[in-house]
Symmetry: C2
DNA sequence: CTGAAAGCGCTTACAG
DNA sequence: CTGAAAGCGCTTACAG
């Protein structure tokens, strides 16, 4: 940071007061066109950029949004969500001159610390991901005076939000679609590898899967609680394929587990989808380019980032907190699922 | 942002001047132990946190590091590098009270804009990734007065750095190791799928591969320029497997391409590694949990993040720019490579 | 339509 | 060892 040229330099060169320079840009008071021109010309000539800290001090606005991630870095690394989501955020933030302050923390203590730092003049608002029931972060960020927007899956008791905005999508619909499709393909022995059930979205996906299967009148699916990691997907798949009445289709709560599962099937010389249908969730870039392609659910991460940041900017402009449903999840069917048993089954 | 309690409140409660509160914390001048205690007690009681913008304005230091990423969001999404690297950065930055300002941009114009914004009081320094030869960013960030640390692969002409620090690792060594191992396994027809050759690291990996093969006296490997995407890996693999003298081992410049390639092999009923050995680069979380595991090169992203931020903090404390080699790349051998042709070959 | 001045919350020479 | 005051670079009532 070294901002040699200040608003005073611009004012001098343009022959006006500092206040006029400020007003020429903000438009909060009329400034003569002629004066404006001189100001802008001077600013351009000097390559003046207003000092962010000085503005922040004067206005109590940092024009920065904070994002605190508490995740195992390795899980974070395999999750396509973040980069896409952040890109969506940026697409709206950068248009409004906002910045993004990122913190990756490992435990709850560091997480709270991060929010406190953000509140001390590093950010005007924060985005909350991976919302849980009775999430203590709502009370914290509210206390700290941070505008907050939470991203979640499914509806949430408005009381829990404590003045936060909430943007949510629906993971259940595409999951139900997938179940119906598999059943239409003749599958009767389904299995599901979920994410950690402490996550609301992991639970929502599993519940939708199990419920839709029940509705369709087939046997209850085998359900294993996974952990969103490749290792978990691998182990769960080995377990499921060892079952006496082996499933003919396995669905996973994310693509990473699904891909690890596919490799187990291949290694056991099972053909996909002939011997085993497989589906994931996330629609990672790999999904579309595997052979066969992995059926998955695109979650519209970019669009969700956009929606969250739009909600955020609205709050920062004084609007009331809002609750918005974004319809961004889409089942994308690819070659990894197909009719049951077109060829031999049970090659071990 | 809303920091109700200020240094003045603390000073009043402790019965001292604002200056003394400041000095009690910074230690830039001796403060009586007794006084210090009163100050700290008052601050704790009021939950005072110094205002970041106010400090920034007074000291011309933001205690924030900027990171600008220019990448296709989808490629970004499949790259395990960023989350790991950022976590490494955070592990040193958070210990020093520093924040990280992130910008994801789509083109060179937005990139320059992002650096200018960072220089206007949003950051003290910036990290440069994906360094290229004659990279214009060195001149830009230097002009803007931003401390700069670049992360790269292989040595770089110090002249290009223009006062930046440089942290680099060596992708060639593990690549050479891999070639030697494959040759020891009896492979003679090797293939390589590179990344886009405009990237220095993509070129370094390919060159090492080709050179080591030549040194070993085997036929020149088939080389295809890939693009780091799964789709590219898939297409390149289909191409290579169609060749008349099909390779018995294919190495890829990243794991995503390798995994897409593995799926092509499986679909063609080739066994890995019996019919085809495969290796990637990155050591993504999937690599270790595929069946068989994907041989890959761990790049030590976390450690590189640490090294970069240590170099950054050193510069910001007034040290001269430095050039540091970090020895973080490691070949991790797993089941995806093995002796040539233990079973039948050429099943089509 | 414009200027002079106060104020945002810190840090840091300057005096004592 | 401590205080009073200036200054960082903006914005914004207050006057005119």
């Amino acid at each position: 940071m070294r901002n040699a040229v200040t608003i005073g330099d611009v004012a001098n060169l343009a022959g006006v007061s500092k206040g006029t320079v400020s007003l020429a840009y903000s438009g909060k008071r009329p400034v003569a066109d002629e004066t404006k021109k001189r100001v802008f010309a001077a600013a351009r000539h000097l390559k003046w950029q207003p000092s962010v800290p000085a503005r922040a001090l004067a206005t109590s606005k940092t024009e920065t949004i904070g994002l605190v991630l508490m995740r195992d870095p390795n899980v974070l690394a395999t999750d396509a969500f973040f980069p896409r989501f952040i890109t969506g955020c940026e697409s709206v933030l950068s248009n409004h001159g906002y910045g993004l302050a990122l913190h990756v923390v490992r435990d709850a203590e560091a997480e709270e610390q991060a929010y406190r730092r953000l509140a001390a003049g590093r950010a005007d608002g924060v985005i909350l991901l991976d919302v849980r029931r009775n999430d203590p972060r709502f009370a914290l960020t509210n206390d700290l005076g941070l505008a907050t927007v939470a991203l979640g899956v499914g509806e949430l008791d408005p009381f829990e939000l404590r003045g936060s905005s909430y943007v949510y999508s629906d993971d259940a619909r595409p999951t139900r679609e997938l179940v119906r499709l598999l059943i239409a393909y003749g599958h009767r022995r389904l299995a599901y590898v979920s994410g950690p059930l402490e996550f609301i979205h992991a639970r929502a996906r599993r519940d939708a899967f199990v419920d839709e299967a029940a509705r369709s009148g087939i046997n209850a699916p085998l359900v294993v609680e996974g952990d969103f990691t490749a290792g978990g997907g691998q182990r769960s798949t080995e377990l499921l394929l060892r079952a006496s009445d082996r499933p003919t289709a396995i669905c996973y709560s994310n693509d990473v587990m699904a891909i690890a599962g596919m490799s187990v099937a291949w290694q056991q010389a099972l053909r996909i989808p002939d011997d085993l249908s497989v589906a994931g969730f996330d629609d990672s870039e790999l999904a579309g380019s595997l052979s066969p392609g992995l059926t998955s659910v695109a979650t519209g991460d970019f669009e969700r980032g956009v929606a969250v940041c739009e909600a955020m900017l609205a709050m920062l402009e004084g609007e009331e907190p809002s609750i918005r449903f974004v319809d961004t999840t889409r089942l994308t069917v690819r070659g990894s699922i197909g009719p049951r048993g077109t060829t031999t089954q049970g090659v071990q």
